[in-house]
């Protein structure tokens, strides 16, 4: 009987953890769907959803290559309202190319890239509105 109780505990814990993970994934999905609206129909998605959980002043780093001759739209979201996620773009030498905090924490911004370059996009929560949450980043492009 003791063994079956142990199995039952494991099964119940697994169910509970699955439930928790699914709920978290659903929240991220809702944020991603909302964020996708910022891509509009003008921009073609790169086919990926970049997301991670952030707490307090943690920073997520997303590394990418932007191709020359392309205009990109970067959308950064957390929560169901705009302005909760601040994003900063740095070049390979660490120079800041853009930061949304300089533009009222804009949830999206367009970038005309004249020559191909490797960049890092840093995302951090707006501490005034959020202390933790799912951070979602979407990248779209047009020629």
């Amino acid at each position: 009987m003791a063994i079956s109780k142990r199995y039952l505990t494991i099964i119940l814990t697994a169910i509970a953890l699955t439930f928790a993970a699914q709920s978290r994934a659903q929240i991220c999905d809702s944020i991603a769907s909302l964020c996708a609206k910022h891509l509009s129909t003008t921009y073609v998605s790169d086919g990926q959803v970049y997301r991670t959980l952030l707490v307090n002043d943690q920073t997520a780093e997303f590394r990418t290559t932007f191709y020359g001759g392309t205009t990109y739209r970067i959308c950064a979201c957390s929560g169901m309202t705009d302005g909760n996620l601040i994003f900063t773009i740095r070049d390979q030498d660490g120079n800041v190319l853009f930061s949304s905090k300089d533009y009222k924490n804009a949830p999206y911004w367009d970038f005309k890239i004249t020559s191909t370059l490797d960049c890092t996009i840093e995302a951090t929560l707006n501490q005034e509105t959020a202390q933790s949450g799912c951070a979602v980043l979407l990248i779209g492009f047009k020629q």
């Binding site: 086919g47 997303f62 191709y67 392309t70 853009f98 367009d110 933790s132 799912c134």
Partner: protein
């Protein structure tokens, strides 16, 4: 008595799980309690050494090829009939990426009949990989309804790939997601190598893949313990060695921002120098790698 204790245990476990969720983002996806601890390392995305890497869309290379005036060449595609040859999840995932890139190329060149065939092949592969929610029947109808509208077709394909990426992440199937990305990247580089023929814009695009390739190798190495990945990783690393000799020079320029248009123009530039020998070595290796993928 046992049932009573079990019920208590169940209540406690569910309460703990609920607490985990409530300690996570609320309905706004945020949480106002700064003492709350969340597993911030939860592997929702595919990460390599703590960083999240973005592999540029393979469709962008198809767009560049069309833009540079290279004529359409169906022989560079993986025939849609091949979709029935793939029997393992590994092969299916890689070729779902390949067909996504092929679809982008066909759409750019307005080969609408072929695009429809490839879309159906893609949908079948997605179904076999259990990601058919992202490529459901209604999507086929919408794709059909938008035939001839290039931008809408590209948007539909890309959205479907984004939905499948999201679905796979939610279901802890990051390996499949990574293979789809790898397949698309390999096909795009294969297109570029096959169409370069002295075209400097395309040659530059080939040379510009060094960082992406490094990310891809890191991504694939996450699954190095799985036997079927061994040859793929080995060939990617061999290709990586050829990129080592390419010269890159980066020059920073101050960006210009138009706040009204929410647009920043980035004029920093990277100059690349690739020799004909390096280009040939990459072309030969990507041909072998692509053969390994499409069979």
């Amino acid at each position: 008595m046992i049932f009573k204790r079990t019920a208590l245990l169940f209540t406690a476990v569910v309460a703990a799980a609920s607490l985990m969720v409530s300690c996570g983002p609320d309905e706004n996806g945020n949480n106002g309690d700064d003492t709350t601890k969340i597993d911030s390392n939860a592997n929702i995305n595919v990460k390599v050494r703590g960083k999240i890497f973005s592999i540029p869309s393979p469709i962008q290379t198809a767009v560049l090829i069309k833009k540079t005036g290279v004529p359409f060449d169906k022989t560079i595609l993986n025939p849609s009939d091949n979709s029935t040859n793939y029997s393992t999840k590994y092969q299916m995932a890689l070729n779902l990426g390949v067909y996504g890139c092929d679809l982008g190329y066909l759409t750019m060149y307005e080969q609408n009949g072929d695009a429809m065939q490839y879309f159906i092949a893609t949908q079948k592969l997605a179904e076999m990989l259990d990601v058919s929610d992202a490529f459901d029947k209604s999507l086929i109808s919408r794709f059909q309804a938008n035939i001839g509208k290039k931008d809408s077709m590209l948007a539909l394909v890309s959205s479907a790939y984004r939905a499948s990426d999201q679905f796979l992440q939610n279901n802890d199937r990051n390996d499949i997601s990574a293979l789809i990305i790898a397949g698309g990247w390999i096909e795009a580089l294969h297109f570029a190598c096959q169409t370069a023929k002295g075209n400097q814009d395309i040659i530059n695009r080939i040379a510009e893949q060094k960082t992406t390739l490094t990310s891809l190798v890191g991504l694939m190495e996450t699954y190095a313990g799985q036997e079927e990945y061994a040859e793929l990783i080995s060939q990617l690393k061999s290709l990586q060695a050829d990129y080592e000799g390419i010269e890159y020079k980066y020059v920073y320029e101050k960006p210009e921002t138009d706040e009204g248009k929410k647009t920043t123009t980035i004029t920093s530039r990277t100059e690349v120098k690739i020799t004909p020998e390096q280009l040939k070595a990459i072309t030969d290796k990507i041909a072998n790698l692509r053969q390994l993928v499409v069979g």
